[in-house]
């Protein structure tokens, strides 16, 4: 019983010490430029960026006691949000929610901690050593990098989808959906999942991570998958027109468009000149290519048709 009181006492003391260590912040500056940029650099902690209609940047949240100060400064085209270290300090800690004009570009660097961005229409660049990255909403271009974290990009709310997404992680999972044109995803051991219609370029590279692509390619679109031991699963419209080049040296290739053709396949699928290119190579991973069900295929093809008209 006595031990319980001691443990409870320790918890209370550490909680109140923790409570003292944090301080609330709330800062706001007007943004001079509707197409400006917000740069955020906080060291350790978490960042959530939310796009809003106001032409100003608001920062709320908490900062740790080792943070000397949190600056929110305005330039001609930029707003900086930065946690400053004392001279001999090692860590900056902040848990912030940043509201930014939705049309702005966003650049966030966190040493350790997650980054969440939503409702931003500009270019987004996010980097963290260790933490998940999540982007949702109508972004234009996304570049995201983390060593030990997952990356999720879903721009479903924008009818057109993001133009281009580049995601790099080492051990985390990558999930990218509803991109309009280009996707580049790279991981060593984490799995990669990409879904989208009428994409112009899809590149996914892993060593041991599995890769899944579900969707269609535009005319002259190109999909390139490279794994070492990871499995690749591709799900394409049944009426796909593409040139296939698929090889697995020590794995099994199972291609619904070209059954029983062995582990090295180089052929044209569809009538006439191929409209797209599908290239997948693996050293020891299996490669499985399947056809979408009718509904999925029709959706992908309709999107691809729309893409063709635009051209």
């Amino acid at each position: 019983m006595k031990n319980r009181y001691i443990i409870f006492g320790i918890l209370i003391v550490s909680w109140s010490a923790n409570a003292r260590a944090e301080q609330q912040v709330e800062k706001r500056v007007s943004s001079n430029h509707a197409n400006g940029k917000v740069e955020i650099d906080i060291g350790e902690g978490s960042i959530q960026v939310i796009g809003w209609d106001k032409n100003e940047v608001e920062v709320t949240g908490t900062i740790g006691d080792r943070v000397e100060r949190l600056d929110v400064r305005k330039g001609k085209r930029k707003v900086w949000v930065r946690a400053y270290l004392p001279k001999d300090g090692e860590a900056r800690e902040a848990e912030l929610v940043v509201y930014a004009p939705h049309s702005n570009d966003i650049d966030v660097q966190v040493f350790q901690g997650p980054i969440l961005v939503s409702g931003i229409e500009g270019d987004i660049q996010l980097e963290t050593f260790s933490g998940d990255i999540s982007v949702s909403g109508p972004c234009k271009r996304v570049e995201a990098g983390t060593v030990n974290g997952d990356i999720t990009v879903d721009s479903a709310k924008r009818s057109a989808g993001a133009d281009k997404v580049r995601a790099k992680t080492v051990a985390g999972a990558i999930v990218i959906k509803n991109v309009r044109r280009e996707v580049e995803a790279q991981s060593i051991s984490g799995p990669v999942t990409i879904a989208g219609n009428s994409l112009t370029k899809v590149v996914a590279k892993t060593v041991s991570g599995n890769v899944r692509f579900d969707g269609g390619l535009s005319r002259l679109g190109r999909l390139e998958i490279d794994t070492h031991s990871g499995e690749f699963i591709g799900v394409f419209p049944a009426d796909l027109s593409a040139e296939f080049d698929i090889t697995s040296y020590n794995g099994v290739v199972d291609n619904a468009f070209n059954p029983n053709a062995g582990s090295n396949q180089d052929f044209i699928q569809g009538e006439g000149d191929p409209q797209a290119e599908v290239k997948a190579t693996s050293f020891s991973g299996n490669i499985r290519v399947t056809k979408q069900s009718n509904g999925e295929g029709a959706t992908a093809q309709a999107a691809a048709g729309q893409d063709k008209k635009e051209r």
């Binding site: 050593f129 983390t146 060593i188 090295n264 190579t281 050293f283």
Partner: protein, 229 residues
Amino acid sequence: MKRCTVTEAKLGDHLDRRLSLEESQRLDRHLEECAACRGAYQRLVALRTLVDGLATSIEPQRDLWPAISARLCGAGASHSERERRRIRLAWIVLSAAAASILVALGVIELSNRPASTSGPAQNIIVDGSPALDDSLRLEVAKAEQAYVDAAGDFLAHLKSPEAALPPDTRIVLEGNLVIADRAISEIKSAWERQPSEFALARKLLAAHERRVELLQQVAHLSFATQNGG
């Protein structure tokens, strides 16, 4: 912890003599004191020499250069913009790019080789002359060495106190380096067993490239998240 504030681009500018005299002298003094920057700068000089040497000592096919240039400078950029961006490339980018040039040369060499019609990878097996095979193996060995050197530099940087990797990140990095090393080893063994399968050489260099890119990514994040990009 004292953190280096020299930007990556500045080293490239210094090499290209685009800094003012005062800035150059200041950077020279810094290079004398900062081992990490000095190593990076020396590597940059070596790589620049390597790249310059490649352009003259190996004559690429006419259609090779646009791909290399696009890789270095980013597709779609104007010529002047490419030039401007080229000279601002950070040492870590150049490190991987120089190795990529070697790979590109090797790949072109591979793709020009005659194909036989047998075996599981029928479009890449060659029956070529021994001299050509030896020449190709030499190129692959050189490219491998370039990757190993680049990886060694990144590893040295990442092991230094300046990198300040979080413990969990270090564990993840080491675990994934083992995965990348295993992949290289497996492909290399396969190529030794099937020396005529030159597509495996391409795969081998791609695996090396992946390993360097892994280290490059961690080094970049180390720099960016601790120095504000």
